[in-house]
């Protein structure tokens, strides 16, 4: 091309709200977030501030940018968060229908905290309902139950529900919010009959303590929550804070949890039942 002008202009990202969240990632064919092959829609924004958060770029609802050094003194900018209409997301989800059918998969809304955007999920749900696509929501449990009943009940097939710390004060210290609402919502969801998979992230010194895990075990038992899984700690947050030009609020261990430690906690947890 004769001139060096860029024939393309960067998009402007609008301010998000409950109907119009930003999507910071959209993954096709995941097997990590629920049964079968799944499309995972990552929505930006979270009311919690977990010290170990492995997706710190998901915490604030508005657009942000990762900056990494490029060749020489150049910098590479990578925008985080893209405005997508519910129609577009629904089309992305519907695309993989044959693969959901082949594998027993579906869509998972994750974040951040997707339950901040129930109207948006509701709009998508309306569009994919006819195809019978299995819907999962990956949540911290910190959401408005009444709004859920009004907008989403009956649409969601499965909750991937994080349980972190049973002690309310410690929960507040580690995540910025108390756990009362979270536990309350979980009990109500259970009673409503929806499928729930409880997930406990194993964070050394925060959640992975004998005291906390046995407390979780008794809560789970009391409420008859049959499906529980433990997730090993994965230190991807530190780097991302740096790429956003900030320091991690708390410096977390740099190494992922090794298999033997993970299995030790698993054995301990099982022994609580």
């Amino acid at each position: 091309m004769p001139s060096t002008r860029h024939p393309y202009q960067p998009r402007r990202v609008p301010e998000p709200d409950a109907q119009h969240p930003l999507v910071f990632d959209l993954v096709h064919g995941s097997t990590e977030d629920g049964p079968g092959l799944r499309t995972v829609v990552f929505l930006k924004g979270c009311p919690l501030r977990c010290a170990w958060c492995h997706n710190p770029e998901s915490q604030r609802p508005e657009a942000q940018v990762f900056v990494t050094p490029g060749p020489g003194s150049m910098q590479i900018f990578e925008p985080i968060g893209e405005a997508m209409s519910s129609e577009r997301v629904a089309a992305e989800i519907a695309r993989d229908l044959p693969f959901y059918q082949a594998s027993g998969g579906g869509v998972t809304f994750s974040g951040g905290e997707p339950m901040m955007y129930m109207p948006f999920m509701h709009a998508i749900g309306e569009q994919i309902r006819a195809q019978g696509i299995h819907v999962a929501v990956d949540t911290s449990g910190y959401f408005d139950y009444a709004e859920y009943v009004q907008l989403l009940q009956g649409t969601v097939d499965l909750f991937l529900y994080d349980l972190k710390i049973m002690d309310d004060d410690r929960h507040r210290a580690a995540t910025g919010v108390g756990n009362a609402r979270i536990l309350e919502n979980l009990v109500q969801l259970k009673q409503s009959g929806v499928d729930i998979q409880v997930r406990v992230p194993l964070i050394p010194e925060y959640t992975a303590t004998e005291e906390n895990l046995s407390a979780i075990a008794s809560f789970v038992r009391e409420n008859d929550l049959s499906k529980v899984s433990l997730l090993p700690y994965n230190p991807s947050g530190n780097d991302k804070w740096l790429k956003m030009g900030a320091h991690p609020p708390v410096l977390m261990p740099a190494r992922p949890m090794d298999l033997s430690e993970y299995e030790r906690w698993g054995a301990f947890f099982n022994s609580c039942f």
């Binding site: 091309m1 096709h28 995941s30 059918q101 594998s103």
Partner: protein, 859 residues
């Protein structure tokens, strides 16, 4: 259909655990086979001149000269079969061999055999794929065989006729001889079909000869203009079949002399009489296959659905088994016989001159075997033999036969899916998998009766046709789509090529200066594509007429539905169904070129400061191989929509729309073209190794591909461009079954596709249920999305790079070119590079592992 002796799950489980070492005979045969392909212990592939010598002698004989051609051909084949040398090179249970060598390349001077003429003195010692030829045999070809055929090959007969008629088709011939526009398979082969073996197994050759005799008498008595021709044809059928009997008798006598009693007894019964056991049926089928290769080139002559054809005979044996022990023995024996048949089918290869290595290097004779799927009544057709054949394929892990597994998602049992996945993961490449629903619907769209469509088998690489009924000539046309792109950008010309008296090559073109919109560009492209389709069809038809006049196939006609009833040779339209195939090179490259052009046109449209014509900008960039346009090239690579990426940047739909446009256009163009036998052309997308060969000499493309790079294979997205595995599967599936318009479903690729997928191997994959399940789910999901076919190479970049550098370390590494399987070491460099750079997908992440990423990691 269901499992019989393998009905208990334990029996199937036990079979899955069998190893090659437990079958000493197969183990020995495999060692011998490896000696040949690895050229150990003085062994190797040999050129076999026996066929060429005997057939030429018969054709030269003055006493035959006045016979009609169909009878001359039959006599020649009979002479060859009756006078062949008889050898038993090893302890294979089956009698009969394609050539007189352990692994031989037969010479077919009627077609392209003479292309090795200049190399007769070097073919034994050349570095790539040497084929041994004694000085004496070379001299026999030079002095006795080739001189006779110089003016009598299909191509030269066609040239002579076209010249006499001053036909317009001479332009097409000129274009074909420029190699890079299109290639018509008719000059090289007729074959590419699936014969019908049921009659010879059920009735025996003697009955079939009786029938032909009766028909000859009936025809002779009739008063119709074609009565004489019919009588000649029936006569030729008898002569051909007597040749097979003579060959079988000679084999029997030799077996008798050597004290091979079982073999002698088998040959006493078949192929003259009906088969009464599995062993007899397998040997009868093999002898007929050998005879067919005596007449027709050993290229893509495909035995078909062997698990169905042979099943009644397996059942005859099984019914006699009462004890557990005898059942077990039968299973062992059947597995051994299938293994023996696999080695027999692999006993021959093609004669490849060095000059053709670039285009066709590494090809075997691609005999396709098909297993599984449903039967004519839409019932599950998977049976004991299906599993035994998959097992033999796993145990032997050799290139030929080209095994294909049909899969019906609703009818076939889950354990069969599991077996397919296991077999692919064990062999790293075999079988290719076909979606019954989409294939059958595609064939029904070709006016094939539903029952017949359900009985489809694969020909050669990937082409589905109804077994024994469809003379499908699937290699009639191989068209380079990028030539049409070149011609669009160059006003109907293709620099630097010049054709005397044809400037521009296509008189109809739209000049880029006059083009304002992408739609107009599409119209300009369409003009060029139409021209090439017209040209290639006219030459394919001319070659078809030459087949009919000069190379009738009375022997193959005996093993087909139609000729006996119609009294017409296959080459004359005697079969029940008569189609031709047209396949295409550079599909994804042309799609991405259209995408890039549309993308650029849109950018320029949106930008008021730009008043250049984007189409001319693109032309200039391509003409300069992007020198001085590197920035544009990088932007195209990064931002223009790509075929196989449906989502994320919102451009995906553009890519899919353009791909659908091209697929639909080709479908409409070919479906209105008649071939020489009263059928139509079926578009297909498989490329063998031609995408590498043609790419290597191709000029730059608007897609950002620079000159001399390989093209994408078959219908596969351009390497390293489709990063999301599910998107790639969806994109291809959405072309095989077009349902973008509500209420109208169309199957626009009846000729077949080859979708190449490369997966990162997972070394404990066989013990890892997640890997096997993931593997299976992806196939099923892709089929649900409309996908017709998929084939795998389970290898990573590193291994293939190492295999290129140290071929001796990986002598039997099998990979998938576009269609058949090949030994990596046999491929030319361009094709090896294509395999290395082909996108490798991580099955767990369902994402492409990009080549430069791994390079960075390993260094």
């Amino acid at each position: 259909m269901s499992r019989m002796l393998l009905a208990p799950d334990a029996a199937l489980e036990a079979l899955s655990k069998r190893s090659l070492e437990e079958s000493p005979r197969l183990h020995r045969l495999k060692t011998g086979y490896l000696d040949i392909i690895e050229r150990r212990n003085g062994k190797g592939v040999e050129v076999c001149v026996e066929r060429a010598l005997l057939i030429t002698k018969s054709m030269r004989a003055p006493e035959n000269a006045r016979d009609p051609m169909v009878i001359r051909r039959a006599k020649a084949i009979n002479d060859y079969l009756s006078n062949r040398e008889i050898h038993f090179h090893d302890d294979n249970l089956l009698a009969g061999a394609t050539t007189s060598k352990e692994m031989g390349a037969p010479v077919y001077p009627e077609f392209l055999g003479m292309s090795i003429w200049p190399e007769l003195d070097q073919i034994s010692t050349r570095t790539s794929n040497p084929q041994k030829l004694s000085a004496e045999d070379a001299m026999a070809l030079n002095l006795e065989v080739f001189p006779y055929w110089m003016d009598k090959t299909v191509l030269e007969r066609t040239r002579t006729r076209l010249t006499q008629e001053s036909s317009d088709t001479l332009l097409a011939l000129d274009l074909m001889e420029r190699v890079s526009f299109f290639i018509n398979g008719g000059g090289a082969v007729i074959s590419h079909t699936v014969p019908y073996f049921q009659d010879v197994l059920k009735h025996g050759l003697l009955k079939m000869i009786d029938e032909a005799t009766r028909m000859e008498h009936a025809a002779s008595g009739a008063v119709s203009p074609d009565a004489a021709a019919k009588a000649h044809f029936y006569r030729a059928m008898q002569i051909s079949m007597h040749g097979i009997l003579a060959y079988a008798n000679n084999l029997r006598d030799k077996a008798d002399r050597l004290g091979l009693e079982t073999m002698r007894d088998v040959l006493t019964q078949v192929p003259a009489h009906p088969a009464t056991s599995f062993h007899q049926a397998v040997n009868a089928l093999w002898l007929c296959h050998v005879a067919i290769l005596a007449e027709n080139v050993n290229m893509a002559m495909s035995p078909g659905r062997l698990d169905q054809i042979l099943y009644p005979y397996y059942c005859m044996d099984a019914e006699k088994c009462t004890t557990h022990e005898s059942k077990q023995q039968l299973i062992d024996r059947a597995l051994e016989l299938i293994g023996c048949l696999w080695f027999k089918i692999a006993d021959n290869t093609n004669l490849v001159p060095e000059s053709a290595e670039k285009m066709f290097g590494g090809a075997g004779s691609v005999p396709a075997v098909t297993v599984g799927g449903i039967d004519r009544q839409e019932e599950d057709a998977v049976n004991d033999l299906t599993y035994l054949m998959l097992k033999a394929t796993q145990m032997l892990s050799i290139r030929d036969p080209n095994v294909n597994a049909r899969l019906h998602l609703d009818k076939n049992p889950p354990e069969y899916q599991e077996w397919i996945a296991q077999t692919i993961l064990k062999t790293r490449a075999i079988p290719a998998v076909y979606n019954d629903e989409v294939v059958i619907a595609s064939l029904v769209g070709q006016k094939i009766k539903l029952e017949d469509a359900r009985d489809y088998a694969i020909v050669g690489c990937v082409e589905p046709t109804t077994s024994g009924q469809s003379f499908a000539e699937t290699s009639a046309i191989l068209l380079n789509l990028t030539a049409a792109m070149d011609m669009t950008l160059n006003e109907g010309n293709r620099p630097p090529l010049e054709l005397e008296g044809h400037n521009p090559i296509n008189p109809h073109f739209i000049s880029l200066e006059g083009i304002d919109t992408f739609e107009e560009f599409l119209a300009a492209f369409r003009l060029q594509l139409e021209f090439l389709v017209d040209q290639s069809v006219s030459l394919a038809n001319a070659l078809g007429e030459s087949h009919r006049d000069w190379l009738p196939s009375p022997l193959l006609s005996c093993f087909f539905c139609g000729p006996m009833t119609h009294g017409k040779d296959l080459t004359d339209g005697g079969a029940t169904y008569n189609s031709s195939g047209a396949t295409h090179v550079g599909f994804a490259d042309v799609c991405d070129s259209l995408n890039a052009i549309e993308w650029l046109a849109t950018r320029y449209d949106e930008d008021e400061d730009r008043d250049e014509n984007p189409f001319e900008v693109m032309r200039d960039a391509v003409a300069h191989d992007f020198e001085g346009y590197e920035e544009l090239r990088q932007l195209i690579l990064a931002q223009a929509p790509k075929f196989g990426s449906l989502s994320s940047n919102g451009h995906g739909n553009i890519a899919q729309r353009n791909a659908q446009w091209l697929i639909t256009l080709l479908f409409d163009l070919y479906q209105h073209k008649d071939n020489a036998r009263g059928g139509v052309y079926r578009p297909a997308f498989w490329t063998m190794t031609n995408h590498a060969g043609l790419g290597q000499v191709g000029r730059a493309l608007p897609s950002g591909r620079k000159a001399k790079q390989v093209f994408s294979s078959g219908i596969t997205p351009v390497s390293q461009s489709a990063k999301d595995l599910l998107a790639a599967y969806n994109a291809v599936g959405g072309l095989c079954r077009l349902d973008h318009e509500v209420g109208s479903v169309k199957y626009p690729i009846p000729g077949g596709i080859a979708l190449n997928m490369k997966y990162t191997p997972f070394f404990h994959s066989l013990d890892n249920p997640h890997y096997v399940k993931g593997f299976r789910d992806l196939i099923t999901g892709y089929f649900g999305a409309g996908g017709m076919q998929v084939q795998f190479t389970v290898q990573d970049y590193g291994t293939l790079l190492e295999a290129k550098e140290h071929p001796e370390r990986f002598p039997d590494l099998i990979v998938r070119v576009s269609g058949y399987s090949a030994y990596f070491k046999d491929l030319n460099e361009a094709m090896q590079n294509e395999l290395i750079t082909r996108s490798q997908y991580d099955l767990f992440a369902r994402k492409a592992v990009l080549l430069n990423q791994t390079k960075g990691e390993s260094s």
